[in-house]
Symmetry: C2
Subunit: 108 residues, 2 copies
DNA sequence: CAAGATATCTCGGCTCACGATATATTGGAG
DNA sequence: CTCCAATATATCGTGAGCCGAGATATCTTG
């Protein structure tokens, strides 16, 4: 799973959101560190929908603007949880080795 | 930073290793879950060397086979630590939202 | 009235992953 | 003694996917 896909699933884990809302939510949940370009978003969304990890929730017209809401499916929640576990294992491995390195610094 | 790059830096955090040794180490540190294809490895290694995150440590000839060892540089260790922090924040955000979802499950 | 925020989506270029391929040595199985 | 697997290097081409740029439309604010 790619990182943009991971972030989209995360943004949808709380509640159903529309495209632009996902962009805002990703920015918010990363404290402004990550911005999701819309050119990335819609490709990711299509792919995730094709894999059944997200699905169309509803369509609304709010103040003349169409809002297309997506929601996380159960397989999507499982996939996100599995990916989170995988990443956590990677992070743990890196952190352990970095700690060992600080104790006994390299020559470089 | 791409995931293969992250894993290569992690493999080198402990001690200097040669290409094939990195492949083995990545497999080992992920408990066999991740296998790093050599076609991926050498591209990543070149890129990381170009960015100054790893550098050539030494070359040895062991039993007629050339071994080219790479080591993590200090900027490489910093980059790895920064990326680990970033990933950890992503994982935390996903885990929190998934927990909230389990408490109050979605319709999908 | 213009500009910026909100909202959708497409397209093309660039980067990167990785399977396949090439080459060479050592060690073990048959 | 021959063949295959493992060890070791490296390159190349395809395909996937990220994302900047652009197209389109409405509402709000100055």
């Amino acid at each position: 799973m790619t990182e943009p896909a991971f972030l989209v699933l995360t943004a949808l884990a709380g509640e159903a959101r529309h495209g632009y809302g996902i962009v805002s939510e990703v920015e918010r949940l990363s404290d402004g560190r990550v911005s999701m370009p819309v050119g990335t978003l819609y490709g990711v969304l299509d792919r995730l929908a094709g894999e059944g990890l997200v699905e169309l929730d509803r369509e609304e017209v709010q103040q003349g603007r169409l809002r297309r809401y997506y929601r996380l499916t159960d397989p999507g929640a499982e996939a996100l949880a599995a990916e989170a576990r995988r990443l956590e294992a990677n992070v743990r491995a890196a952190t352990e080795r970095l700690r060992a390195r600080r104790t006994r610094p390299a020559t470089a």
